[in-house]
Amino acid sequence: MKESPQAQKLEEVLRSSKLVAGGFMGYDPRSVTEIIDADLAALARLGFTIEQVASRMQEITDKAIPRLGNWVRIDQQRQAKVDEAKGWLICPWPHTGRFVKRVTTAKLIKSAKSIQWSDLNIHLIAEHGFFEGKGSAFRIEPKELINSIF
């Protein structure tokens, strides 16, 4: 299907390794609009909005930051920690804004299942509804995310 030149350029950026190793799309053959539509629909079926999800992710990250890399108890079932590196992550969408390289790991204590996200992921979900393509290192499955953070 024909896409506008802006969408084509965005897709090119997302697939390249210029911003992050391996790009944002993994091995997913779908276009970025298809991925976003599918994930938003999945999220809606689970009964959540991207605002709810993003603000909860930010809440967990904010709780973990002061512990500078050590595990912190978020609530009864889960703990989280952050790892930070120097440098900035640039959002592939054409707007201003840089994000620190901070990775939050949230773990369910009982099952020891953990999920990771970066500050950029929170922004991509909140502003663009983008959970990254399947196969990407930081792809977040909506279902897993909901189970881990709510």
Binding site: K2, E3, S4, Q6, A41
Partner: protein
């Protein structure tokens, strides 16, 4: 025919090309970029303007090529190939010129030009111009009208889709599915214009 009747015919043809014989909603030409680029009003606007410009100019260029090259040599059947070649060359040339003389215009409009070369509505307008045997002045009206009609359709679609962006659409219908359904409903609505022109 004298100039005045030609001009009034051109005007009628223009209006009919916009409403009653909309090249997209009545003849279903140019659907591919219509579905692909109608997510946002801003991009649809740029693409639509580029289509108006290219459609008008190429219809005229093709009219000249048909009546002064193909007809005298009896090579009417070559119109398909020739029109496409002319459209492609024209778009390339214009892109170069715009990039050189107005980078701002290039950013807003020029980036859509390569997308338009393969828009079948452009070729369609030229072919209709031949079939209906329009004169040069009427072709101006026709090219302009078809372009404006296409522009209207994509703007309307973009407006509708922007409103739909927050709605829950069944998974099977997302993207192209719901867009085609909307296009069908819009086409039905435009049928309401039949009979406006006598």
């Amino acid at each position: 025919m004298n100039i005045e009747t030609e001009m009034s015919q051109a005007f009628v043809v223009c209006i009919s090309a916009i409403f009653t014989q909309n090249i997209l909603l009545s003849y279903f030409l140019g659907l591919c970029p219509f579905i692909g680029v109608s997510r946002e009003i801003k991009t649809a606007f740029g693409l639509g303007l580029a289509v108006i410009f290219v459609m008008t100019s190429t219809s005229l260029l093709n009219w000249l090529a048909y009546h002064y090259v193909l007809e005298p040599l009896g090579l009417h059947f070559f119109r398909f190939i020739l029109f496409i070649i002319i459209i492609a060359a024209f778009v390339q040339f214009i892109e170069m010129v715009i990039d050189r003389y107005s980078p701002t215009l290039y950013q807003n409009l020029g980036v859509f030009l390569p997308l338009i070369t393969v828009n079948c509505a452009i070729l369609g307008a030229s072919l209709f111009m031949v079939i209906r045997d329009y004169s040069f002045i009427v072709t101006i009206g026709y090219g302009l009208g078809s372009g404006i009609g296409w522009f209207l359709a994509i703007i309307a679609m973009a407006g509708i889709r922007q409103r739909l962006s927050n709605e829950r659409i069944p998974q099977g219908l997302q993207g192209a599915g719901i867009t085609l359904i909307i296009a069908g409903i819009m086409a039905l609505a435009f049928i309401g214009f039949t009979g406006v022109l006598q």
